[in-house]
Structures are given as structure tokens and as C-alpha cells.
Amino acid sequence: MAKLAQVKTGIAEALAPSQPVRGLWADIWRRLIRKKRAVFGLAVITFFTLVAILAPVLAPHDPLELGFGRAYLPPAWVTESATDKVGDPQFLLGTDTAGRDVLSRLIYGTRASMFIGLTVTPIVAVVGTLIGLIAGYASGRKAGLIMRVMDVFYAFPTIMFYILITLILRETAFGKWMNGLGTLLLALVLIGWVGLARLTRSAVLSIKETEFVEAAHCIGASNRRIVARHILPNCLSLIAVWIAFAIPRMIMVEAVLGYLGIGLTAVVDSSQSFFATTWGGLFLDARMAINTRPIMMLAPALCVALVGMAFAFVGDSLRDVLDPRMRNLI
């Protein structure tokens, strides 16, 4: 008897994992932070998120405070030869035509743009995943109908959709809410889901044919349970990578719409809104001043570029860590 117990513990010891067992996501995280590019991306994202949260602390001035005595100052290191205007170190990046501090506006713009990217994307992800799951798992008329709707939305030129939605809602009560933030969020959700729904659907179609789903069917699992417990977890890595790439896309749409002058309406009164301006709004301001104050364009464009790059680096690394074969999909 004693011998048998000894053998048993011996086997157990031999089979025991040599390393402590980690969960799937902990493992992914460990592999992710081993990549230089991912760490750089995460650092940049953390930086901009902190700037967004701490905007009131970091901004040297009120982004909406007008100052006609100090309007249109050049950046601090510049002395403008044509007008003899000297940059003021108090206003590091200069002021705009209404005397508002460009740096403070940039910091507050970061807040709004990061907020848009980080809040819309999860909503879009949930909507897109749900629709994709239904379209992939259900069969027959219901799935066919969803597919047709998806095809139409997929074919619809995206920027035109945003422009039309904004114009429709701009003058309604909803459109005026939060200076048009509601409209923007709605537009982003309305058309943003299509890409993810298509991706999820194609993933579901192949997962549906696997043995473990068949096995689940055989032991009498309900459809709901199969989708929630067997299919959805297998789509999660795809969704995670999609989110990483979608966040900068949402920020970008806001920037493009802002540049075209149909993004959020300009805020004048500081009690009016939580967000003083957005990166898109800054682009619009800068567009008017491009020939004399290129810094007003350069600074927000650099921010957008950095954020876009950071998310792309993280998304890229995440994809390599999760499943390099996904390269063909996203």
C-alpha cells in the first residue's frame, strides 16, 4: 500500500507544471509587454489618458478664457518679424485669434477626443459582436436579412454617412445636446458595427463546424449556452484586436468631421460643456490660421498621429501574441 501511495505522489510530481499556472489573459499580458512596440504604445496611451483625466490640473489657462489684449500670439520661442509680436512664455504654443491659450486647448481637446475613442468603441464592439453572433449562428431568413442589411451598410460610403447624419440631427434637441456629442456618438455607433459584425460572423461560421460545438449539441446544451460559452470565448481575441484598431479610427472620424466644420459645435461659454474643444475642433481653428500659425495645426496633428501609432502598435502586437494567423483578417 505504502508503495502504491509513493508511486502516486511520484506521478503527481512528475505531472505537476514546472511553472505556476497562469490564466489566459495574464499570459497574453506577459507576452505582450515583452514586445518593445507594445510597451511604447501602451506608454503613449497611458500618457494621453492621464492628460485627458488631469486636463484641469495640467492646463496652464482656462481653454475658453478670452484675452483680446493677447490675441494671436506666436509660440513662445518665436518673434514674428512682420508684426513684431513676441511669444510669451506663459503661452507656450501661442494664442488663437480670440486670445485663448493653444496649449490649454490642446490639453482639453485631448480629453474630448480620448473620451470619444474610449467610450464609443466598447459600445460599438458590443453591438457588432451581438449582430455578428446572430448572423453567424442563426440560419435561414433571420440571418439572411441581417446579412443584407450588413451588405448595404458596408457598401455605404462611411464619411458620407457621417456627414448626412450630422446634418439631419444638428438642429434637433438631440443634436444640440452636449454640443453635438450625442449626434457624433450615435453616428459612430450606427455605422461602426458593420466591420466587426462581418468579422465575427465569419469567425462564428467556422467555429460552428468544430467538434466541441457538435459535442455541446450532443449533450443537449441550449443554443444560448453554446453561443455564450463555446463560440463567444473563441471570438474574443478577434474582438480584442479589432477594438485596438477601432479606437484610433473613432478618434480620426471625429477629427475629420471637425476639420470639415461639422463636428462638435464650438464651445464659447465655459459652463456650457464638459468638453471645451476636440482635436477636430482644433484642426478647424488651425485651418483658418494655417499660413501664419502652422504650429496650431502641427501640435494637434502630432497628437493624433502619436495616438494612432500607439494603438496600431498595441493592436499589431496583440494580434501577433493572440494569433498571428489573424493577419489575414484585420
Binding site: 448595404v152 476639420y259 502598435f313
Partner: protein, 336 residues
Amino acid sequence: MVLLLVRRLLWTIPILFGVIVVAFLMVHAIPGGPWDNRPATPAMFSVQADSATLRTLERRLGLDKPLWRQFIRYVLGDLDENGQFVCGLICGDLGPSYRQRGNTAQNMLFGAPEGKPFWQSAFFYSIRLALLALFFALVVGIPAGVTAALKQDTWIDHGITFIAALGISIPNFVIGLLLIATLVAAGVGFSVVPRSWSDPAVWIIPVVVLGLGTMATTTRLTRASMLEVMRADYVRTARAKGLAEKTVVSAHIFRNALIPVVTLLGPALAELIAGSFVIEMMFGFPGMGRLYTDSVVWKDYPLILSATLLYAMLVTLVNLGVDFTYGLLDPRIRVK
């Protein structure tokens, strides 16, 4: 295969019909009609006309009818005031422009200014921009990718890979803004919106900005594909039988490495056509993008619908073509 192609082509019709329905409803949901002087309309766009004239105009264009009648009129056609049947969209008639009297949407999209060849029209301006951007992407991207692969792990490779990573991750809209701002800051005499587009030099910046993302993708793909082929057995054989390095690279590696790049062409073109919209507006390019923004400001319904439909059609057709070329090049991928 042919049957499948025909079936897929026929499928695009209901899809485009859906696009038209959505676009039609959205356009008509925009508050205000094409002729009213709302405070939101900039003064320069408002029309000075008495109400009787406007009523006549509306009757002639069918804007006094209920929405469903207007839709049928637009898509199928309707009787005009003389009792003559005028065919609509299904006959390829995109409708009259509301704001340019006597002009049709068709003419504004496809018609060149008088005395100019057809490629001076808005539509072909856009197509030219997209094709030139694609050309630029390939001419720069493929050699860059090949060089990076041949000099793998040297600083040349690292430099090219890094630039490609930047090009992929930064959207071309932002690259354009950065470029403009840098050029202005550097004091280069340069105007964002040129007076005339007949000078080839002014095309350079829009084409480069539009094509940069595609160029980066091409570079990356060429490099990856070259590296894969370089390790193939037949390349080792070619070297072993004593072929000159030049021959191995050009005839054995390069040719085979190019196959995945060719499959990229379709999606890249679709992306460029869709992406040209923003770039066109940035540079005041006289293509469909600008026509679209103008038509939105003027609430020129037929023009908005035509431009939307045209973009949707181009992208759908290119995507369809892509699916089929995939199937032809790689029989493992079945077109369903």
C-alpha cells in the same frame, strides 16, 4: 465560375438599391429644402426668389409630391407636366441638378468643362487621383520592400520597416495635415489649394498623401513575401546549380514574391477610392469629393444621391473583383 460571377453581379443590384433607399431617406430628413433661406444656410448659398417661382420649380421637380412618389420618380420615373414619361435612375438618368439650372447630375459628374477631354470631369479626376496614388504606392513600395528583404536586419531594413509601420498606423488625413503644417512652418512657398490642376507638379502632394498608407502596406507585404520565398527550396536549388545571384533574385525570388502583392491591388484601390474623399476636400481637388460637399451644402438632392451611389458602386464592384481574383489565384479560397 461565370454563373457565380453573374449571380454576384446581380446581387450588387439589391445592395445598391438599399444604399439608395437609405441615402434617399437621409437626404430628405435633412431639415430644410434646396431653396429655403434658413439661418443655417450661408448667405452666399441662399436663393433669392419669390414664392410663386419656387412653387413652380417644386412642381416641376416633383418636390410637392409625397416622399414615396418622389422616390418612385427618382428611381423609376414619372410623367412630366406634359404627360410624357420621363425615365429615372433605372435608365441611367441621375436627375437634374437643383442648383445649377439646366445642368444634370450626370453632366456634373461625368461631363468635362466645355472643350476639355472627358478625363477632366469630376468623376475621372477622382479616378485619376486614386490610380496615380496606387501607382505611386507600387513604384515606391515594391522596391522598398525588396530592398528591405535583401538587406534583412541591416539598418536599411530597420529604417524601411519603421517608416512602413508609421505609414500604416497614421491615417493619411493626419499625414496630410502634418505635411502641410511642416511645409508652411519651414517657409516653403506653397499653397494648399492650387489655382489650377493642369500643372502636374500640384498633383504630387495629394497623390503622395493619399498613397502613403497603401505604399506602407505594399512595402510590408513585399518584404514579408520576399523573405518567405527566399527560404524556399527552389531558390536554394537555383543557387546550387550556379545561377548568378542577379538571376536568382529577379527570376526566382522576385516573381514569386509578387503574387501576394498583386492580390493586394484590388482592396488597395477600393480603399483609395473611398479614402480620396477626405484628401480631395483637403486640397480643394475638383473631383467627386468636392462635388459631394458642395451638393450637401446646396441640398442638391439628385447630386448627393448620385455621388453616394457612385462611391458605393465603385467600392462594391472593386470588392467583388477582389473576391474573384482571390479565387483565381488561390483555388483553396472558394468564392461562395
